[in-house]
């Protein structure tokens, strides 16, 4: 047992020895329980304990607590010790309380009273004990009780230095709890002037306090900049003997220097006073110069302290981002550290360079170190250092070095630590997309990613490659060829099968000319992977197969065979079973025209921010470097972030696939300046309903299902079916965000209540993140009508109320029943309906070049029967149908005559009711 210093408590030492001698955990617990019983009986016993005994037992309890056991008594005895007139007893009492008393204890009033007494003491050691206790507990009660006392103590001329130090930090702790306790006004200047205090310890403590105050109220404390620069200047130019005990291993006041440099990072560079700015630049240059001097000691403490100041200076330079030569100098200095012996320095240099890479002044300088950084990524023994190297490569990547960096990262990925693979995959995917000049390269990179690290390729990554391939025609054939080749590997990752399946299903025809990749070969290749895949992938493959049937009728029988297989048609998985049976029927029943329509190529995806980037941001908030700051702006650092974003917003061309420079949620807003001004761009994406809605509603004249409305928050899809004069409309509300959408409340408005009846079923008001809910509407056509109902959906997202309005795709033509008839009866009726009151006619200009096939497809979806071989002119279209309403049925004939030379259409509608003819004519006009 070692000697015990001071007034050792022998009983305590014996107890600690006993515990240490316990051979097992059980023995230790037994010994502790014995001691607890003993202490409890002592505290409860009749004999009053003297101060020493109380102190000893309280100290034992504390020790037991620190061993990890719960203590539920002794608090009162500890509080009693606070009022002891013996310092050692008081001190143990305070220690127990600061470790064990929680802030809402009943004893807090008693404790506060004792602290008050000690604060009044003339002995600074007692005062400090009380201040330490306040700082340790730092509760709201403490802030209330001492909020006025402590600021006085801090600035009073009578207070001793040691007390001032504690008072400053004590106040800081209370300020963090209750910011209102710091008085403003004249106090501000008195607190700031502590930076001039002759006692270095006081300045060190006060700087921490001022830093926190500045963060809260930078304008009020602006005066501290000049004083901080002056103080810093005195320190960095001091010789190591000037500051005596505040020099640490030959480095003058490193802690204070770092705190001052930190404090200055709360402000933009002091440009108003050129003198101050010049002085600061001098300080920073001196720090660089000293870094180049030979070390004054070989001890690591010397270099650590010196470099700590240097790194903080570099942080300030990066923060200011205004002096190109300082930034480049910082970069060179960090470059030296990259090959330093000390792992710690290499780690910090990589981290710091990551920030330099985002400044336009130093981006190029950082790139010079690319080779070393790549080596760090490959060779460092410590994974956290390798991680920093990966981060830096990501930050320093641009158009000029992307290919090399991506290549190196891919190569490293083969052996990379599991802990960083997923993030690396995301980074490679983003870089490849962002800097791709040739999208075949991009496709290669992503397929390589899947090959090398398939398990770490998240859904977002492979969704994205498909989006890009679908949107870029020039890369489709290459993609098909490449996935086809990749699938030939004896083992390939399931993600490869997904991508391969999807791409061949869409674009397999582009490589079918080559006998090596004939339709049969493509299908058999995909199907050879089928039995190894999960249900989700199988479901995808089934869709691919039916798409292949459409592309290559010659393999229909083989595919049908697969659909018919028991393992599919009778699969235990309901999704697979449904797909197999539906696709089988589709392939049997549908004509090639229908098949072509149903299985048409996927339309292009809306260009939007890469979802991968969002994933990366979520994984590592704050560690994704922003874009290199805008080089066109004269004073980059003074421009608030929002402005930079909005400039980028307008500059970014549609070629910016990632939309990296566009904040999420605003893509659709470009050009809508008014909305942008209202509120935070990032948290409350606004909506731009108009254009989307207009386009969509026209589309729905010719079809019953599809996406009715979509923005960044919500998607509303519609599926409807009609029978005679009745209709059922299903609306599907999908939440596209990560958060719930609340108070969803749709409403319908229309004017012709007597002509149209629409009922809306109630729906759940909350739409969970990523969820979709359905709402049914029923409609009855009473009489022919002209106004489609308007639906407005109100909801709140992030507590911001939103409202979107759109027309329902509910038009008169939906109640058509197609009617077959021969030429004879058609012309007979046509003539019968020749009256002025029965016909309507419009002549209109074609929307683009006249495309008869497209016109035909549209008309087929309109609801009337297209009648072929009736009109003597084969280019003309004639249709017939019956409009069903509750009160009557209205027969209706239509003729559409294109004139290719004039790029005009003539549309004639005849029916037994004038208003029907008019409405059908209006609906169809200008649609072709």
């Amino acid at each position: 047992m070692p000697a015990v210093r001071g007034d050792g408590m022998r009983g305590l030492a014996v107890f600690i020895s006993d515990i240490r001698n316990c051979k097992s955990k059980e023995a230790e617990i037994k010994r502790i329980n014995k001691e607890l019983a003993n202490i409890r009986s002592k505290f409860k016993g009749d004999k009053t304990l003297d101060g020493y005994q109380k102190k000893k037992y309280v100290c034992k309890l504390l020790f037991i607590f620190l061993l990890g056991h719960d203590i539920d008594f002794g608090h009162m005895e500890a509080v009693n010790l606070l009022s002891s007139n013996k310092y050692s007893e008081k001190q143990i009492g305070y220690l127990f309380i600061s470790v064990l008393v929680n802030t809402n204890s009943d004893l807090i009033k008693l404790i506060i009273q004792s602290i008050k007494n000690d604060l009044q003491s003339r002995n600074p050691i007692h005062v400090n004990l009380a201040l330490q206790c306040i700082a340790n507990i730092g509760s709201k009660d403490m802030a209330e009780a001492f909020g006025t006392e402590i600021p006085k103590l801090l600035v009073s001329g009578d207070t001793m230095d040691v007390v001032k130090q504690s008072a400053a930090l004590c106040l800081l702790r209370l300020f963090r709890k209750s910011p209102e306790i710091i008085p403003g006004g004249e106090w501000t200047s008195r607190i700031i002037h502590l930076l001039n205090d002759p006692h270095m310890g006081v300045v060190t403590a006060a700087t921490s306090l001022i830093d926190a105050l500045v963060k809260k109220n930078p304008d009020e404390y602006k005066g501290c900049v000049t004083l901080a620069v002056a103080r810093l200047s005195r320190i960095v130019t001091a010789s190591y003997t000037d500051l005596q005990d505040y020099t640490y291993y030959f480095v003058p006041a490193p802690w204070l220097s770092v705190k001052l440099l930190r404090l200055l990072q709360n402000y933009t560079p002091p440009s108003e006073e050129p003198g101050v700015k010049g002085r600061l630049t001098e300080c920073l240059e001196t720090i660089f110069n000293k870094a180049q001097e030979p070390p004054k000691s070989k001890k690591v403490q010397h270099s650590n302290a010196k470099n700590a100041v240097l790194f903080e200076a570099i942080s300030l330079i990066i923060h200011n981002d205004s002096e190109a030569n300082l930034l480049v100098r910082a970069c060179n200095q960090l470059g030296q550290f990259l090959s330093n012996r000390e792992t710690n320095l290499r780690y910090l240099a990589l981290e710091s360079m990551c920030h330099l890479a985002t400044s336009e002044f130093s981006h190029e300088a950082v790139k010079k170190h690319q080779e070393v950084v790549i080596l760090s990524m490959k060779m460092e023994k410590d994974v956290s250092v390798r991680q920093q190297a990966v981060d830096l490569l990501y930050a320093m990547c641009d158009k000029t070095n992307a290919e090399e960096i991506v290549q190196e990262m891919l190569a490293y990925l083969e052996t990379a630590d599991y802990s960083i693979r997923e993030e690396m995959v995301l980074k490679v995917a983003i870089l490849a997309e962002k800097y791709a000049t040739d999208f075949t390269w991009y496709v290669d990179v992503i397929l390589n990613l899947i090959r090398i690290a398939g398990d770490y390729v998240s859904e977002e990554v492979w969704y994205r490659v498909i989006q890009i391939v679908i949107n870029r025609e020039e890369v489709q054939a290459y993609a098909a060829k490449t996935v086809f080749e990749a699938l030939q590997a004896p083992t390939c990752h399931e993600n490869m099968v997904k991508v391969g399946g999807y791409i061949l299903g869409e674009f397999g025809n582009l490589i079918a000319g080559d006998t090596k990749s004939s339709p049969q070969v493509q299908f058999e290749l995909l199907h050879s992977k089928y039995h190894l895949c999960s249900a989700a992938t199988r479901a995808l493959l089934l869709s691919t197969y039916i798409k292949l049937v459409n592309l290559f009728p010659e393999i229909k029988n083989r595919v049908q065979e697969v659909f018919r297989a028991d393992s599919n048609l009778r699969s235990a998985d309901v999704e697979l079973q449904q797909r197999a049976s539906e696709y089988l029927q589709l392939s049997i029943v549908a004509s090639s025209d229908v098949l072509a329509t149903v299985l048409e190529e996927m339309p292009a995806f809306p260009e939007r921010e890469s979802s991968i980037l969002a994933v990366l941001k979520k994984k590592k908030p704050g560690r994704i470097p922003d874009e290199v700051r805008d080089s066109k702006s004269p004073q980059p650092s003074v421009i608030p972030a929002a402005t930079i974003n909005s400039t980028n917003n307008t500059n970014s061309s549609s070629a910016d696939l990632l939309g990296l420079s566009t904040p999420p949620g605003t893509t659709a807003n470009t050009g809508n300046g008014l909305l942008d001004v209202l509120g935070d761009l990032y948290t409350t994406p606004k909506i731009s309903p108009n254009t989307v809605q207009q386009n969509n509603i026209k589309k729905f004249l010719f079809k019953n299902n599809g996406v009715l409305f979509e923005n960044d928050l919500i998607q509303i899809g519609v599926k409807s079916e009609y029978r005679q004069n009745l209709g059922r409309i299903g609306l599907f509300y999908g939440n596209k965000t990560q958060f719930p959408i609340q108070n969803v409340h749709p409403e319908l408005h229309w004017t012709e209540f007597n002509k149209l009846n629409v009922q809306m079923k109630p729906m759940e008001p909350v739409l969970e993140a990523g969820a979709q809910i359905q709402q049914m509407l029923t409609a009855e056509c009473i009489e022919d009508f002209t106004d489609a109902p308007v639906m407005s959906v109100s909801f709140s997202y992030n507590n911001v109320p939103q409202k979107i309005t759109m027309k329902l795709p509910l038009t008169l033509n939906k109640f058509f029943e197609p009617t077959e008839m021969n030429g004879e009866s058609f012309f007979a009726r046509w003539k019968n309906l020749g009256g002025e009151q029965q016909r309507a006619q419009k002549i209109f200009k074609a929307q683009g070049a006249i495309d008869l096939t497209a016109t035909r497809t549209k008309l087929a979806g309109f609801g009337m029967q297209l009648l072929d071989g009736i009109d003597p002119n084969p280019d003309n279209f004639v249709c017939a149908g019956i409009v069903h309403t509750r009160i009557q049925q209205v027969g209706c004939l239509m003729r559409l005559e294109p004139n290719k030379q004039a790029q005009m259409f003539r549309l004639t509608v005849r029916s037994s009711k004038e208003s029907v003819s008019q409405e059908i004519c209006n609906l169809l006009a200008d649609q072709f």
């Binding site: 210093r5 001071g6 007034d7 408590m9 022998r10 009983g11 030492a13 600690i16 003297d50 020493y52 000893k56 100290c59 504390l62 020790f63 620190l66 990890g68 310092y87 050692s88 001190q91 220690l95 050691i125 400090n128 201040l131 330490q132 700082a135 340790n136 730092g138 040691v162 130090q165 504690s166 930090l169 004590c170 800081l172 702790r173 270095m200 310890g201 060190t204 403590a205 921490s208 005990d245 505040y246 640490y248 006041a253 490193p254 802690w255 770092v258 930190r262 403490q301 650590n304 302290a305 700590a308 790194f311 792992t343 710690n344 780690y347 910090l348 023994k381 410590d382 956290s384 250092v385």
Partner: protein
């Protein structure tokens, strides 16, 4: 700002803990357990800093004891290492070649010294001389007290 400081042995025994942020006991125990395991698993030549949950951990091993500080993102890593070193120097000076046992048997002293160096998670006094002066003043106050406990402990009270 420092969020907490832990001292633990190579065997993973906690020797000292000081929290500057309020956490429930259960969470403190969980953090302590996880962090000790993480740090002990690291190899000697590895970097002394690690990103751990939302804090920056800075640690250094002195003989059989690990000193481990959890700092906030903006804090200076290298200087935190030197803060640990300063604390070790103070313990060393006070106990005279400090060893793990000194800290076990005089844990309250280790706390008192730390309280002079760091207050409320911020560095209070960097001068070794000033801290030792403050501790000496405390000890002096104690020596003036009548050592009545001496008799109690020897059965003479």
């Amino acid at each position: 700002m420092m969020q907490f400081m832990l001292l633990f042995s190579r065997q993973g025994k906690l020797r000292l803990q000081k929290w500057y942020v309020a956490h429930p006991d259960k969470l403190k125990k969980k953090i302590t357990r996880e962090l000790i395991t993480t740090v002990l698993a690291r190899k000697p030549k590895m970097c002394s800093f690690l990103e751990w949950k939302d804090v920056k951990v800075v640690y250094k091993r002195y003989a059989s004891l690990y000193f481990c500080c959890a700092m906030e993102q903006e804090d200076n890593e290298l200087l935190t290492l030197e803060l640990i070193h300063r604390y070790v120097e103070l313990l060393d000076k006070y106990f005279g070649s400090v060893c793990e046992l000194d800290i076990i048997f005089n844990f309250e002293k280790a706390y008192f010294i730390l309280d002079e160096l760091v207050l409320g998670g911020e560095l209070q006094e960097t001068s070794k001389k000033n801290v030792l002066k403050a501790i000496a003043a405390q000890d002096l106050l104690q020596e003036e007290e009548v050592p009545q406990g001496f008799f109690d402990d020897h059965g003479l009270g």
